[in-house]
């Protein structure tokens, strides 16, 4: 575990840059993580997914999988890949300040 500085705030992150304490997160941090991942502007559709991820993690203790996102976030899977290139569930979790989804075992 190490620390990183986003939007002027020091936060704890894991080896891949996922925040380890969701309580340290804020919207400026989200925007900066997104920018580093190549997403210049977080649109309403991005936020819809990020907020869904975060709410779900905070209420259930685990981050939803891509299929759950596709079924329940209101954004279909194909669009998820357009919004969050490569791994939507992983990237949305990172932007949302929650730990990397275990997703798959």
């Amino acid at each position: 575990m190490s620390s990183a500085t986003y939007a002027g705030a020091d936060v704890e992150v894991d080896a891949e840059g996922f925040l380890t304490d969701p309580g340290q997160w804020n919207e400026q941090i989200a925007a900066e993580i997104a920018a580093q991942a190549g997403i210049e502007q977080l649109t309403d559709r991005h936020w819809q997914v990020v907020r869904f991820m975060r709410d779900r993690y905070l209420s259930t203790g685990s981050a939803p999988s891509i299929r759950t996102l596709g079924k329940a976030s209101g954004v279909p899977i194909k669009e998820l890949y357009e919004l969050f290139p490569k791994g939507p569930a992983k990237l949305a979790a990172k932007i949302g300040g929650i730990p990397k989804p275990r997703g798959c075992i």
Binding site: S65, I66, K71, I77, Y81, G87, C104
Partner: protein, 431 residues
């Protein structure tokens, strides 16, 4: 039958236990509960048919290492005398009313319900998978019918691009697609067509397997056998006419023969049952007590539960001790034991008469060593050996005669012991 009956156990007073699903998990649970609770419980298992499939055999059927008819037996005959098997479709569970509605319009009430209906295959969720190439150039092996069709396709295969694709996670037995790659490599070498065959594994994971330590070992084995792994590939569409699989982010993988593991979900009725499951039909379950979050008298075991561990028969076997103890505790008003720790182990067939064995749980990564005893073994962990292969082949006998009847395997920790010791200590009993 016991000679002395407690007064409360007269006919009509017995607790009614209903188990949905007569597969690996449901059968083990039924037999253990029957032995543990005796006449004090009436146990009914509900399933839609009387065909119990030995699922680990599905991997071997395509390679003619197992015959289709030898991996199916009667469900009813795997259940102890006194356990009733009722053949019916399940319409929904009404956990607030303590009853299950059946497909024929009737209903069955329960004191305790155990959900053990496993995972369903959802090939329709992947665009084009069931299209023009299905059964021709596009195959699977997660059902008996598809495993038999793949067997013929592999016989007819004369070289080219063989794709093994995992459409999405979670799937039953997440090592099976890797084993299919290893066994295909072996078979193609034996047939002398390996040089003209490319074998590629498409996986949505960021490596060959979910657990990092294991991933390194398995990636090494795959590379050594000339099997290519394409990771973070989320299958979006199967286009049989063009002979390619396309990922959601637009990458394309060409094939002459594709073997696709379809998307899995929980049983269909779970989504119709208020409060029971999540969006994908997995039953929301406490990972340590196996009690469902829907109601205190509803439990889940095996693939049906949303537990963060592998969906595998060994997991159901290790869960059974905790499940049956907690059903007993629930019925007698005691506090539940947090006995299950996510323990799973699996044999991984690597071909050439060898196999690998891995063993892990919620916290513990699969590590090298020996099993079941850390020093004596005899089976090596996370290393290829002939003994592991022989153990895997012998496993079917063990499955029907030891696992399904709900017996523990000597020398193997069944997880409950530590919880039991703690509970006894808490009650002030000698250990």
């Amino acid at each position: 039958m016991p000679s002395a009956q407690p007064a409360s156990n007269i006919e009509g007073m017995a607790d009614r236990i209903v188990i949905l699903g007569g597969g690996t998990a449901g059968t083990i649970a039924a037999n253990r509960l029957s032995r543990q609770l005796g006449e004090s419980a009436r146990i009914t298992v509900i399933d839609r048919d009387d065909r119990h499939l030995y699922e680990p055999g599905l991997l071997l059927v395509p390679f003619e290492m197992e015959e289709p008819e030898s991996i199916v037996r009667s469900r009813g005959r795997q259940l102890r005398p006194g356990v009733e098997l009722r053949l019916a479709e399940i319409d929904r569970v009404l956990s607030s009313e303590g009853k299950v509605l059946l497909g024929d319009g009737s209903s069955i009430a329960y004191d305790v319900l155990i959900v053990a209906t496993g995972a369903s295959l959802l090939p329709g969720e992947t665009e084009g998978l069931m299209g023009s190439g299905w059964g021709e150039t596009v195959h699977s092996f997660y059902s008996l019918e598809s495993a038999v069709a793949l067997r013929q396709a592999l016989r007819d295969f004369e070289g080219g691009k063989l794709l093994v694709a995992v459409a999405d996670m979670p799937i039953k037995c997440p090592v099976a697609p890797l084993e299919l790659c290893f066994l295909s490599d072996w078979r193609m070498r034996e047939r002398g067509i390996r040089d003209s065959t490319q074998i590629t594994l498409l996986t949505p994971l960021d490596g060959a397997f979910t657990k990092p330590t294991c991933n390194r070992e398995l990636s090494g084995l795959l590379t050594g056998r000339g099997i290519e792994v394409v990771s973070e590939f989320a299958t979006g569409q199967v286009d049989a006419d063009a002979g390619k699989i396309v990922s959601y982010d637009g990458r394309e993988a060409p094939f002459d023969l594709a073997v696709v593991v379809p998307v899995h979900g929980g049983a269909e009725y779970v989504s119709r049952s208020p409060g029971l499951g999540d969006e994908l039909g997995w039953v929301r379950t406490d990972p340590h007590t196996l009690q469902s979050l829907a109601a205190p008298n509803v439990f889940a075991i095996g693939d049906a539960a949303d537990l963060p561990t592998s969906k595998a028969g060994s997991a159901a076997h290790f869960q059974a001790a905790t499940l049956t103890e907690n059903v007993r505790r629930h019925l007698s008003g005691e506090q539940l034991v947090r006995g299950y720790d996510g323990h799973v182990n699996c044999f991984i067939e690597t071909g050439f008469h060898k196999a690998l064995l891995i063993d892990f749980d919620y916290e513990r990564e699969p590590l090298p060593g020996r099993y079941p005893d850390a020093h004596l073994g005899p089976l090596p962990l996370l290393a290829e050996s002939r003994l592991n292969h022989l153990a895997k082949l012998a496993f079917q006998t063990l499955y029907w005669h030891v696992l399904l009847p709900g017996h523990d395997i000597p020398g193997v920790d069944h997880g409950l012991e530590a919880g039991e010791r703690a509970a006894k200590a808490a009650r002030g009993e000698m250990t």
